[in-house]
Amino acid sequence: MVNKIWNSILMILTLGLIVGIVYNEISYGRFSRFDYYLNVNYDDVNVWMVENEFYTKDKSISIPKGENHYSFKKEFVLEKMHLVWFNFVDDKFYEFKGDLPYELIREEMTTENEISLKLGKHNTFQLIGNGKILQNFIAKEVSKHWFNENISREKMVFFARDKIKIKSYLNLESDSEFSEISFSPVTFYNSSHGSSDYADSLVNGRFFYENKPLETNLIEQINLSLIKKNYAIKGSVDYLKKTTLKLKIDFDFEQLYEIFRLNPKNKFDLNIIVDKNDSLKSIYFIDQNKMIKLDVETRYEQESKIDTDKIK
């Protein structure tokens, strides 16, 4: 009798497991299970993502600062999201808290694996699955605390709205020991966008990018690498050495603000002068014939290593 009851219990448990396994297989589609990407794209607009939180059935994910995508396991379908961003052009915070079209996302995920959110002008954004617009959203305007402790909202908006273009030059004084920018490109970090421009060559002191003179937006920091001239005789140990001087130049945001606020012009030439001691002598903005000296903070780092190209 007891054995029969025990048998029945085991039978029920077994049947339950079989149902569970079959159900799992059907609902997750094991054979088409793969990761998919969630992209948050705000390249075309000047915004700062303050908060992002995406919810699946049983967990929440936020894309870390400085990244714009996250990969999910396919069984985690996005259901809800919470976004807060600051639009520099509008000088407004926008917030969206709500559901995502679960079924539409699921359908898209059966064929391809990219879901993206594209922020548009003002408070609009779109949900795009494999290049197809799935839904348009409108966020509502909210008031939030300013997120940057170092730079005031007024200044940040000023820089973001301004269409200042800067052309940069590098003047290496003739007796400088350094001759050229290194193979690794010069980086110009743009303060308000978080994006950066790169210069890959230097022609007559002027920075070029993909054979075009480089025109950058407002600059927060420049990363410059210079290569030391090598006078050593071929065959000697020193001949194989490659010495690089790395300069990290930080600009003074307050000073730039003052210059631009008072100056109606929006095109400037930036002159970087490296003197014979191979330290940064000065950086100027050239406005017609007037030279405005910029306050900068520079960090130097010298690095010597064997030039692998010469060994070959």
């Binding site: 007891v2 054995n3 077994t14 497991l17």
Partner: protein, 106 residues
Amino acid sequence: MSKIKSEILEILQKTSTTVIILNVLLVLSHVFFLQQNEFLSNDFLKNYHYLIILNMILMFITVALSNNKALRIAYIIVLIFLLIFLIIFYFFVLWMTGLAKGFTHG
């Protein structure tokens, strides 16, 4: 040798439905567990011992209810092996988590 053979045959002949169902259940429980938790993932390492303990409980009840002596001995041997496996698994998890901590804290 022939004695062992005959005993095995006896066990097989006397195999009740309970034994068949129990074995199916044990196998399926592992399949289900693997379906839910990826092999050697965090959740797997965290929860696998519960599955083994559950398996052992089911086996133990079956042993307690069984009248077949040969079957009881067989199941007790399996239980002992499972217990040894559980202990090894416990130390394996300890070692793995220690390694993981070592990695994350440099």
